[in-house]
Symmetry: C2
Subunit: 186 residues, 2 copies
């Protein structure tokens, strides 16, 4: 869970990165940026900020933000009612992102997997995305990703998104955020 103040701070930082990337949001979108801490208690280390532009029964589009070194934990998108799992294309718009998928492990990867959760990071085939570069992750493929030195702004184009069904390697993870109010006078 996250404190309301942590969420607000992360939203402000996300807006700064969007501004640097030239991404414009409406006022309503700005106030509804999702801050995902995955229930792990250390947003700077493992977390993700995002805005969902559209999510229909046919397609979905989001803008993702990773702070420098921030990691979205390893997960996959399972099939749903006989439909293949979510397929997604990551397109880097600004900064850089280190992406890891199933396949032959890359020697000397750029990212550093979060130390406390190392056992929950099992795929190490590296794809580095700089602005204008993109990669499509097939359905059912384990993947994780980390913001580069300046962080990253990444457009995600995909089939329908059902975040609540994502399967994380780390069983301690809670995908849907729980936010608690800061105590008064703190």
């Amino acid at each position: 869970m996250l404190l309301r103040s942590e969420v607000k701070q992360a939203q402000e930082r996300t807006l700064e990165l969007f501004a640097r990337a030239g991404i414009v949001l409406t006022a309503e979108e700005q106030s509804s940026i999702e801050v995902a801490g995955f229930g792990l208690g250390n947003l700077e280390e493992q977390g993700l900020e995002l805005i969902t532009y559209v999510n229909t029964d046919r397609y979905c589009a989001k803008e993702l933000v990773l702070f420098p070194g921030q990691t979205c934990p390893e997960h996959l998108h399972p099939s749903v009612n006989g439909e293949p799992g979510k397929m997604e294309t990551f397109r880097c718009r600004w900064g850089s992102v280190y992406l890891y998928v199933e396949g032959e492990a890359t020697n000397q990867i750029q990212a550093v997997a979060p130390v406390q959760s190392k056992d929950s990071y099992t795929v190490y085939h590296e794809i580095i995305l700089n602005p204008g570069e993109q990669y499509t992750i097939p359905p059912g493929t384990k993947h994780w990703f980390q913001g580069g030195l300046e962080g990253a702004v990444v457009s995600e184009f995909s089939s329908t998104s059902r975040d609540e069904l994502d399967i994380f390697t780390d069983k301690a993870i809670v995908r849907i955020p729980i936010i608690i109010e800061d105590k008064e006078n703190e």
Copy 2:
């Protein structure tokens, strides 16, 4: 049909607008920007420039460019093999776009429909999109759109794209571009 030189010039102009919008393309993408003149012989008046980032059997994402006052002619996306027609979300990234769809006609619209082709513009429900604003066009809905005073850069998120099946109100239109080489010494 378009001359190769017209295509090159339009690609250069498109790259300038992408640069202003902060949109980064790879070198390969830059050289493969699609210039659609719709077989009407006046690209400045009726035309569209675009790059398709990804088009799978589940979703599609493109970046569209309209020069100032340039119009993408009225069309709809029909159903295919029992699947509803293409659904698409336009998100304005830079400039402004005047979009017209079926529904109650708006009084005193901002766009000017191309004079020579006026009969081929039949829907006048206006939606104006500025940066950060978006609109989702339902399947099978007639629509056309025009770049505002500075032109427009628009992200299109959609279901699978099958441009060759689009139904244009103007039956003179040829969607798939025919490019002819410039004569020597011209």
